[in-house]
């Protein structure tokens, strides 16, 4: 909703952002043609995970942190398992490592497809939702639902259920699947590949708003593979650091104008995490057929337009699909589902590529295996300053639009980020501003 505050001043406010995960709001004040103030607020209630994790058993942590987010529970389970394994010096077997990559691919597919087709695409095609969009694009929505289902099926077979799967644990899994349990999933995935390729060709024909930003991308990078669970942190401006140095390189600043804690690099630069950052940083590691498709449809790296994150998600989904097929085809059931371990006092860090970007966990564990302290930095919180910077750059281009269209365009831009607000709220030091 937009209203005139004083002559020459326009205020755009959206109190409840739709088609995002969690509760967020937008406040934008224009003075003439200049942006005077921009706030992307998160008013999701605080749930105090880092506080109540203290005193819990280390083995409970993957199940508890999963409850931070119903859309990316696997990411929380993976970051916390890796952190504990670092603290206890546990080595993971190759097959278990592969199974974790498979599980993560399942989450990338279901989360990305949900966002691309059900939450983001309606903005490009000017529908209020995928439900309305389905009346004229039924095949597209139906195909997307099948692909999403295939991603979910990976999570269900490996994890028991799609939301808050129960099978991941420190050291591996409680139970590992047999080959024959995995094979039907491969069939489902293979059956969706043509749809995805066609859908990417269609997505490339969409009209993309022109907003090139000079992003500093941050993503995990691994020398041999597209990083999911493991790697070192890399920025597009050439900085590289170990995940254990996360809090040496990244700081959280209290901004007076928004009262929100913003993540920044220590040199003061804001940065972008998530699919667009990842494809920019790891594109050389993508398989040739995916690069060829990108060339065919005109998707070029580097890409600094976040509206094209829908394509980045699409290419990541295609990678995850092909990689899942490869992982399933070479799967041999390991003898034991998990590496046994004894908890000990220590500190562990975990950083994995959640669908929305790097998700960092740090735990200090006592000699009885209980949590002494926990730190969790979710991706949307890291992207928050960049969302505001994008809005400040985009808003001046929208001034000649009718006000409800201007509002819709600002929401569209926020949805580029697939913001996961439930994740972010539990640690944001933000002032809850109410009207």
């Amino acid at each position: 909703m937009s209203k005139a505050a004083e002559p020459n001043q326009r205020v755009i406010e959206v109190h409840n952002l739709a088609r995002v995960e969690g509760e967020g709001a937008l406040y934008l004040r224009m003075q003439g043609r200049d942006v005077a103030e921009v706030k992307f607020s998160i008013f999701e209630p605080p749930r105090f995970f880092e506080a109540f994790l203290r005193g819990r058993d280390c083995r409970e942590v993957p199940d508890i942190t999963a409850r931070i987010c119903g859309i990316c529970p696997v990411a929380y389970q993976m970051s916390s398992c890796h952190a504990m394994e670092m603290a206890f010096g546990i080595k993971i077997e190759k097959t278990i490592r592969d199974l974790r990559r498979l599980l993560y691919c399942g989450e990338w597919i279901e989360s990305h497809v949900l966002h691309m087709f059900l939450l983001h695409l309606p903005d490009f095609l000017n529908y209020e939702s995928a439900i309305s969009m389905a009346s004229e694009h039924r095949d597209l929505v139906a195909g997307a639902l099948q692909l999403k289902k295939a991603g979910n099926e990976i999570v269900r077979i490996l994890g028991g259920r799609e939301v808050h799967p129960i099978n991941a644990c420190i050291g591996g899994f409680h139970r590992v699947p047999t080959r024959s349990e995995l094979e039907p999933v491969a069939e489902m995935l293979a059956g969706c590949r043509d749809f995805l390729v066609q859908a990417l060709r269609f997505l490339a024909t969409l009209k993309y708003p022109d907003l090139e930003m000079n992003y500093d991308f941050i993503a995990l990078r691994h020398p041999e593979e597209v990083a999911l669970n493991e790697g070192y942190l890399t920025t597009s401006r050439g900085l590289e650091f170990s995940i254990t140095q996360f809090s040496d390189q990244i700081e959280e600043i209290h901004q007076r104008h928004s009262n929100a804690l913003h993540a920044r690099l220590k040199n003061g630069a804001i940065y972008l995490v998530g699919p667009l950052a990842r494809v920019n940083i790891n594109w050389d590691l993508y398989p040739q057929p995916i690069k060829e498709l990108a060339r065919e449809i005109g998707f070029q790296i580097p890409c600094h337009n976040q509206f094209k994150s829908i394509l980045a998600r699409g290419f990541e989904t295609l990678y995850a699909l092909d990689h899942s097929l490869e992982l399933i085809s070479r799967y041999e059931r390991p003898e034991r589902p998990a590496t046994p371990f004894q908890p000990r006092a220590g500190i562990g860090h975990g950083c994995t590529e959640a669908p929305r970007g790097i998700l960092y966990h740090r735990y200090e564990i006592d000699s009885e295996g209980l949590v002494r302290s926990a730190t969790i930095v979710p991706p949307t919180a890291q992207n928050q300053p960049q969302i505001e910077a994008d809005l400040a750059a985009y808003a001046p281009k929208l001034l000649d639009m009718p006000e409800d269209e201007m509002t819709r365009q600002c929401e569209f831009l926020i949805r580029n980020y697939d913001p996961c607000i439930s994740c972010s709220a539990h640690f944001l030091r933000l002032k809850i501003e109410r009207d």
Partner: protein
């Protein structure tokens, strides 16, 4: 649905979110095979996670996800009650307070200071409560997350005007029926199944681990009998028993009182 049929003739659904992870309302979108059919039968009038369009109330059915944990939520849930003919609480947060109800045993000011640099900015209630702590709830569907097929059953039953068929017996029945060997007997693994309500399909035992209580207490659980087994057979400490009971449904009776008793006895 007939395209000419006025939309107002379909029952109107509202989906609300309070303090939660979004996972339970996401279960609606996880109904990949049923979603488009469901959207044809029901007018999805208010569901911010899925659509931008908001139709004004009143609504025939309101699904509420999340616990009530801030002063603003207290106001909003009262309004939701007024706007909905039938109000259904879905998931552990809405039916028990959820995992964030662990604050209910702690000093919230200390929690806020632990997590937030400027705790004075945080508007929060001392306790995270189930929806029924504030307003009358017509039906409660348990689970962390809810089972999506149980969710369909509840919606179908309400549309048909009958009571939802949701079992309140223990997980053990579900487990036995599925022919899963008991993990307590076979794997010497502690399991909350005997005192937990069925509904997930006995997932954890299928995956060789013990139940951790996502669906909350079954109708008449014998908690002390199970916990005695935990102590005697598995050498579990009272502090660990307290942790097990204080999970995703820890604030729901009789789990709450039992955990309080074990906590007290572990101190003496």
């Amino acid at each position: 649905m007939n395209a000419t049929q006025p939309s107002s003739s379909r029952p109107r659904l509202a989906v609300y979110k309070f303090s939660s992870c979004d996972g339970c309302q996401l279960q609606l979108l996880e109904l990949e095979d049923e979603l488009l059919a469901l959207a044809g039968e029901i007018e999805i009038a208010y569901f911010l996670e899925a659509r931008r369009q908001v139709l004004p109330g009143p609504y025939d059915i309101g699904l509420v996800e999340g616990s009530i944990s801030t002063p603003a939520e207290e106001q909003l849930i009262r309004q939701a009650r007024k706007d909905c003919k039938v109000l259904v609480a879905i998931g552990a947060c809405a039916t028990s307070g959820g995992i964030q109800a662990l604050r209910n045993w702690a000093d919230v000011a200390e929690f806020a200071a632990c997590v937030y640099a400027r705790p004075e900015y945080i508007a929060t209630l001392d306790v995270a409560s189930p929806v029924a702590g504030y307003v009358y709830v017509d039906f409660e569907l348990r689970g962390c997350p809810v089972n999506k097929y149980q969710l369909v059953e509840v919606l179908t039953a309400l549309l048909m005007g009958r009571r939802p068929q949701i079992p309140t017996y223990s997980l053990c029945l579900e487990c036995k029926r599925a022919g899963i060997p008991c993990v307590m007997v076979n794997r010497k693994t502690p399991c909350l199944g005997p005192i937990t309500q069925a509904g997930c399909g006995a997932l954890c035992p299928q995956f060789h681990r013990g139940c951790y209580g996502c669906f909350g207490p079954m109708e008449t659980p014998n908690i002390s009998s199970l916990c005695t087994q935990f102590e005697e057979k598995f050498g579990m400490s009272r502090a660990e028993i307290v942790r097990r009971l204080r999970g995703f449904n820890g604030y729901l009776e009789p789990f709450k009182t039992a955990s309080d008793n074990y906590e007290q006895s572990s101190r003496t």
